[in-house]
């Protein structure tokens, strides 16, 4: 039963390996290669730039990890941060998910124990790729549990390079999702294993997996709603069994208890509307257990049917009344805005502008799906077909996971990440089942010749194959052609994924690159230049006001107190900053002085053509400020509903603080050959107000490409 060409099998036979051992060797070597591949495909930005932390949120995680290494766990768990949200401060210990930081520090301690003198930053940068490799292993075992080991291998390969996952787990992207997707897949795998075996040990492992997920990411709400939904579907389709009872109950009770140890989560498992589904299903399971016991006790089925009807209706009624009472009395809080906007996508735009303004929360376009999934998009329905053909507890789970996560991926771009493991697994089932059927066809032709001579030994299976072969003579050629087609598709997928990773998902966002006039690469390192200027040239207790996007980076790299940062927990404080930025300078200076601000930082892309600067984000500042302070009205800044910065712009726009700070001294600047001075390359227009005079602020620092501009607040004039 050789499964590969003659020379390789001879080579392996020369090692005196039996077929089972050959198969094991191939599987292990494939898994090792996939492990290494998953790690190295995420290293593009480390090779091109340097080993640094990307984006905004990872800087906060890095700062907390640094604090944890220096001060130990007890201080970290009880940390009150004075350096952000001045003058309110932030209870860091109670408002973060510690899983990522604790994991990184654990790896750091282990490496230090083995006498590898690494810096914590290196560990932080490479944590995400390491966990991505571990995810591929879990995907293999999960595929093996659902279908067979072939599907597991394909799943591991698909998820190793899938761009949907790579986007949030490149080296340097030190964010919660890098660890959370591993925890998610691990929890699901162990839970399905528990349902399949009915053992308490596996359920305990799934409770621990759930605990790790809760400690790592706020998206754990997906688990605590998907698993009860899955249990409910199994109960409705008549698949109740003792194994399901054991698995769900142990996981729910222990998982809930463990999850409540995280201060940020607190008592939400018993008080929040988002977690009530799990509790409801828990009580329903007890009812089913009771019914099962009664059924076993009684021998009269007619009596049992009547009893069944009464019990189920009364149980559902009692549950409904309890839930209603809880919600009406306010004890059970309704769904929070973040998750409610998943069910009703228009909710955030009308009620919570901060959630609506985050670019990752926008609905997904088809191009994003194609970009992130490539061939998996059409392999997903094919895999669903195969799953429905062989329904079992495990395949029902993966179908539900796939469908729910695809719905949510359609609502919010960020959630493509959660859908990726499901899509990879289901597509792997499609690929593996198709390839298996095709290779069986290929091998059967050889078998027909043999069973022709030894009659009756093959049995009905090979004789039916023989029948098939005689009616369609070109089956073997068709199978070979289809196999080549499958190989071509998979190789195109690998090429596409590597290209996407290299082009789109490997930029650190804090260092910008562009092509110069001669085709050479030009690096803009302005952000770090500005933050280090702050660190070295301002007093220790200086307070910096900027828009909330840059808060984490300023505290992590500039080491100065900020007014608002990316945590966005206090909308009024952010609205105050937004109001200051959109008022005239005289009104703004009142707010600035009341907040004790010493420096104001703005990001300006007019000289370089950088389009994610503060002028392009300005309307969000107006909207958020106007949401709390009605004195700021958005139509004041627009002309005929249009947002302009040139001569035809609204007068309030031309004189507000943000405009003045961005375009101070810009009127004399020549940015492009053949254009007048003061030509804004990001907006593509010549600015309207070139003669900007500042009365209460003075320019402190502008970076070499004018991307970051820092202004000092002048002390009030003496009143001789």
């Amino acid at each position: 039963m050789a499964t590969m060409p003659a020379s390789a099998s001879d080579l392996l036979k020369s090692f005196k390996l039996k077929t089972k051992q050959q198969e094991l060797l191939i599987r292990v070597s494939i898994l090792c290669l996939v492990y290494i591949l998953a790690f190295i495909t995420r290293l593009f930005s480390v090779l091109r730039y340097e080993s640094m932390i990307h984006e905004f949120d990872p800087y906060f995680n890095y700062r907390t990890t640094l604090y944890l290494t220096e001060n130990g766990f007890y201080d970290f768990w009880n940390w009150f941060d004075y350096e952000s949200w001045y003058p309110l401060g932030r209870i860091v210990g109670g408002t973060l998910y510690p899983g990522l930081m604790v994991t990184a520090v654990l790896i750091y301690r282990i490496l230090r124990f083995l006498r590898f003198a690494v810096h914590i930053r290196e560990v932080c940068v490479l944590t995400a790729p390491f966990f991505a490799s571990n995810t591929t292993l879990v995907a293999y075992f999960f595929g093996k549990e659902i279908w067979d080991s072939g599907a597991g291998l394909v799943a591991a390969i698909l998820i190793a390079v899938c761009p949907g996952y790579i986007s949030r787990s490149v080296a340097g992207s030190y964010d919660n999702e890098g660890v959370a997707i591993f925890a998610l897949l691990f929890t699901f795998y162990v839970f399905v294993k528990a349902v399949n075996t009915g053992s308490l040990a596996w359920s305990l492992a799934s409770a621990f997996g759930y605990f790790y997920m809760v400690s790592a990411w706020g998206g754990y709400v997906f688990i605590i709603n998907l698993i009860p939904l899955y249990v409910l579907v199994l109960l409705i389709t008549g698949r109740y069994s003792m194994r399901l009872y054991v698995a769900y109950n142990c996981m729910y009770i222990l998982g809930m208890l463990l999850a409540m140890q995280i201060r940020f989560v607190g008592f939400q498992h018993v008080q929040s509307g988002e977690h009530m589904a799990a509790m409801g299903v828990f009580f329903l399971m007890q009812v089913f257990y009771f019914l099962d016991w009664v059924k076993h006790m009684l021998s009269d089925t007619k009596l049992f049917q009547a009893f069944l009807r009464i019990t189920v209706t009364s149980a559902v009624a009692v549950g409904g009344i309890a839930l209603g009472l809880g919600m009406v009395s306010g004890y059970i809080s309704p769904w929070t805005g973040r998750f409610y906007s998943l069910l009703d996508p228009t909710y955030a735009k009308d009620h919570i502008p901060i959630i609506a303004s985050v670019s990752e929360h926008q609905p997904t376009a088809w191009s994003s799906f194609m970009f992130d999934f490539h061939i998996l998009l059409f392999l997903f329905p094919a895999g669903l077909y195969f799953c429905f053909k062989r329904l079992s507890d495990a395949t029902i789970f993966i179908v539900m996971y796939g469908l729910t996560s695809m719905y949510f991926a359609g609502v919010m771009v960020r959630l493509i990440l959660v859908a990726t493991p499901a899509v990879c697994l289901i597509s792997a089932i499609a690929v593996s089942a198709t390839v298996k059927n095709l290779t069986v066809l290929l091998r059967s032709k050889n078998k027909v010749v043999q069973t022709g001579s030894t009659k009756g030994s093959g049995g009905s299976k090979s004789s039916s194959k023989a029948l098939l072969d005689q009616s369609q003579p070109f089956q073997k050629n068709g199978a070979i052609a289809l196999l080549f087609g499958a190989f071509y598709l998979l190789s195109r997928y690998a090429t596409h994924c590597t290209w996407v990773t290299s082009e789109a998902y490997s930029s650190p966002s804090i260092v910008l690159a562009a092509r110069g006039a001669h085709g050479n690469r030009v690096i803009f390192d302005d952000y770090r230049e500005a933050y280090f200027w702050l660190r070295q040239n301002t007093p220790q207790d200086a307070k910096v006001m900027s828009w909330w996007d840059y808060g984490y980076q300023i505290t992590a790299m500039g080491n100065r107190t900020v007014i608002v940062d990316n945590n966005t927990w206090n909308n009024t404080h952010i609205a105050t900053v937004g109001r200051a930025m959109s008022s005239y300078e005289d009104e703004a200076i009142e707010i600035i002085r009341s907040l004790d601000v010493d420096y104001v930082l703005v990001v300006f892309g007019g000289v370089t053509g950088y389009s994610s600067d503060d002028i392009n984000k300005f309307l969000w500042m107006v909207r958020i400020g106007g949401g709390v302070f009605p004195v700021i009205k958005e139509p004041d800044y627009l002309v005929n509903g249009e947002y302009r910065v040139d001569k035809g712009a609204a007068p309030k726009m031309l004189n507000c603080l943000m405009y003045k700070l961005c375009y101070y001294r810009f009127g004399e600047m020549m940015t492009e050959y053949g254009k007048p001075p003061g030509y804004d390359r990001a907006r593509g227009v010549e600015i309207g107000n070139k003669d900007v005079k500042l009365e209460h602020l003075e320019e402190a620092f502008t970076t070499s490409n004018w991307i970051v501009r820092i202004y000092r607040v002048k002390p009030p004039n003496n009143r001789w």
Binding site: M242, I253, L254, L258, M260, Q261, Y289, L303
Partner: protein, 114 residues
């Protein structure tokens, strides 16, 4: 009507047959059932107490109630003497799992008690 009276008769017949079937179960099982019932009874007492004096250290209340519910559920499903038990696991393994889960449960409860 006829239906309600037959339902009443059904309920009565149900109750009687359940009672007789339960009396036929071995003593071991009845002891374990008593243990589960005791755990749930303790949980109910705690809930009534909380209703009387208020729920201030909520974490302590939760850990107390959940430890009772947890032991009840674990005992209920590790009950390998019960005829409902899934047959694929040997009893020693089931008992070891039971001990491990109880250990984890009580460690977490002790941490959560505050």
């Amino acid at each position: 009507m006829g239906r309600t009276s037959s339902t009443k008769e059904d309920a009565g017949a149900l109750f009687h047959s359940l009672r007789s079937a339960y009396a036929a179960t071995p003593v071991n099982l009845k002891i374990i059932d008593l243990y589960v019932g005791f755990a749930i009874f303790t949980a109910l007492i705690q809930v009534v107490y909380m209703a009387m004096v208020g729920s201030f250290p909520f974490n302590s209340f939760l850990s107390g109630v959940l430890s009772c519910v947890g032991t009840a559920v674990l005992a209920g499903k590790s009950n390998f003497l019960s005829p409902l038990f899934a047959k694929d696991l040997p009893p020693e393994r089931a008992f070891a799992d039971f001990v491990l889960c109880n250990l984890v449960l009580h460690l977490v409860i002790m941490n959560f008690l505050g």
